[in-house]
């Protein structure tokens, strides 16, 4: 409602601008008249343009550093070659790509169901007081820095795996547990909002037809909130793929392809932060190429999200 009002206001203003009330404050330029008001508008527009400029700069600088190397050694070789050995001039990120996907997938396996169930709990079941308290706690969980999660993983999860499951503890599993905890807030809060946004009439209609509360949740509310929940999962996935500090501290960072969930693994992000400090030449370019791959991947996920939001709107209409 407020939006349409503002729209009308903005449009009305541009007409009024054609004949400024206060002519004395105008300064005559050579080709056009500059008023303080129009100068301010220009300045504000420049502020807004910074966001666009930044995206352009990030793309240019990261691609310019990374893409030439990918061309030199070939796309397929860069992506699928399992041998990462900078000292021998071999730059294949296959093992790291597999590592990123494996850790992300195994974190989603447990955090998506738990996150969605918690979202249902908060939106439908919990008494308001408990729901609010849990909301605060989820916010706090979202605010804890990734390096603290990594530290917790290093001192609690890794020894636990080492003592009870075998291996040295630094593993895909440790990464999956920590990453899963980290993306829970994203999944919970977006799914909860999607569930709360389902019109009350849907639920009332379902209850009036004799369905129980649980049947209504499963048969009516969840399908209606589907696109929001999918968005939540994709955003969680994006966060997991891009996460660096927590993963680097608990996964052991071996450049070998992992053979089980108890073996160590290195993700693409870990590789960048571990080697950037001393890399030079082609080695550095390969790290930038890895960053470019991440960037492209996240962009694709973002596009999928905006597509799924649009699709959700159509569904709702």
């Amino acid at each position: 409602m407020a939006r349409t009002n503002l729209d009308a206001w903005g449009a009305g203003w541009s007409q009024a601008e054609a004949k400024p009330a206060d002519k004395s404050r105008q300064v005559s330029g050579l080709f056009f008249r500059v008023t303080p008001e129009s100068l301010i508008e220009l300045l504000l527009k420049a502020c807004a343009a910074i966001a666009i400029l930044t995206i352009v700069l990030i793309s240019i600088f990261i691609f310019a550093r990374g893409i030439p190397l990918i061309w030199k050694i070939g796309w397929a070789d860069f992506i699928f070659n399992l041998k990462w050995s900078p000292s021998h001039g071999s730059y294949g990120i296959g093992a790291m790509l597999a590592g990123s996907l494996l850790v992300t997938a195994s974190s989603l396996i447990w955090s998506v169901p738990l996150g969605i169930l918690t979202a249902i709990f908060m939106a439908e079941i919990a008494p308001p007081k408990i729901g609010n308290m849990l909301g605060r706690m989820v916010e706090l969980l979202a605010g804890i820095p990734s390096v603290v999660f990594g530290f917790f993983g290093l001192i609690v999860i890794v020894p636990f795996i080492r003592n009870y499951l075998g291996g040295n503890g630094m593993s895909v599993l440790a990464g999956a547990i920590i990453l899963g905890i980290m993306i829970l807030p994203t999944i919970i809060s977006i799914s909860r909002d999607a569930i709360r946004a389902v019109p009350g009439e849907y639920k009332e209609g379902s209850l009036a037809l004799g369905a129980t509360h649980m049947q209504s949740i499963r048969g009516v509310i969840l399908p209606a909130a589907r696109s929001g929940i999918i968005t939540a999962v994709i955003l969680g996935m994006g966060r997991a793929i891009g996460e660096t500090m927590a993963v680097v501290m608990v996964t052991g960072n071996s450049t070998m392809l992992p053979s089980s969930i108890l073996s160590p693994v290195r993700t693409m992000t870990s590789n960048i932060v571990l080697e950037m400090g001393y890399a030079a030449g082609d080695h550095q370019a390969a790290l930038f190429a890895t960053g470019a791959m991440l960037f492209i991947f996240i962009m694709i996920l973002n596009l999928v999200v905006s597509f799924s939001i649009k699709a959700g709107k159509n569904y709702a209409d």
Binding site: A2, A21, V147, I272
Partner: protein, 280 residues
């Protein structure tokens, strides 16, 4: 066979269990670090400079570096973010291509992983602009990272200012900018502050991007062009290189306390800006 209501009760129990386990996860993490860290933290730990690469002494220089970096990045990002929010909400027509592009860019920025920001900051600020590993490189990178948060929350705050305020101000003969500056912005301040507080939280926790742009020198930073190590980077180095687990516990505990305070303040300012009839 379960009756329908028995089945319902079972699912209900299961949902309760999910909610409680999320609460338990948070509780375990915070409690564990608090118990281990509390005994390390003292006034000396906060006030003393680290010695022998952090093995001994306190973490005072990293606290100063964190505050320094956060303040500089806020000084850069807040004017830009608020300015861009004013433009988007008060000047641009909603359907305009430019506004659409800016919104898309802000959304994309918000989704980019911090390590990619780190790479960009490294190649652009540290190398291309030749600023070196320094507070200014770190702050510029950080400013880009928090820009979407500040823009978005300021946009929402400006949007929540009732249209009548603007109409009244314009009817009294104020110009558009006068209206924005004297009427819209003051009413939007609580929302803008919420955005700033959230950004501080992000700046305090950021690690990956800062390792690549601000370096990890442990000394007390003197000026904008000195390298610096924030508390989060310090925690990473202490734990990864096994320098001192005890001091790592202390640092982690202080970071969590800081985040809790920031969260509390954000909620406080959020509830202040929620006035009857208009919720954000």
């Amino acid at each position: 066979m379960l009756t329908s209501s028995g089945h319902d009760r079972m699912i209900r129990c299961f949902l309760w269990f999910s909610g409680l386990s999320v609460a338990a996860i948070l509780f375990i993490i915070v409690a564990y670090i608090a118990i281990k860290g509390l005994s390390v933290v003292s006034l000396d730990f906060i006030m003393e400079a680290p010695r022998r690469a952090g093995k001994e002494g306190g973490i005072s220089t990293t606290i100063v570096s964190t505050i320094y970096l956060t303040l500089v990045s806020l000084c850069l990002a807040v004017p830009l973010g608020v300015g861009s929010a004013i433009y988007l909400e008060e000047y641009a027509r909603r359907s305009s291509r430019f506004a659409g592009l800016v919104n898309l860019a802000a959304e994309t920025l918000a989704g980019i992983p911090s390590i990619v920001f780190g790479l960009f900051g490294f190649v652009f600020f540290v190398i291309y602009l030749n600023l070196g590993w320094s507070i200014i490189s770190g702050s510029l990178t950080m400013a880009i990272m928090i820009l979407p948060t500040i823009t978005r929350t300021s946009q929402e705050a400006i949007l929540s200012v009732p249209i009548q305020y603007r109409e009244n101000s314009l009817a009294l003969g104020a110009s558009k900018w006068q209206t924005v500056r004297r009427v819209v912005l003051p009413s939007a301040v609580p929302g803008i502050i919420t955005g700033i507080i959230l950004s501080i939280g992000r700046a305090v926790g950021e690690t990956a991007a800062l390792i690549l742009t601000a370096g990890s020198a442990l000394g007390m930073p003197g000026g904008l062009f000195d390298p610096a190590r924030t508390m989060s980077v310090h925690l990473y180095v202490l734990a990864m290189e096994g320098i001192s687990m005890e001091r790592a516990y202390g640092t982690a505990f202080l970071i969590i306390v800081l985040i809790m305070v920031i969260n509390y303040l954000a909620n406080l300012s959020l509830s202040r800006m929620t006035n009857p009839g208009r919720r954000i």
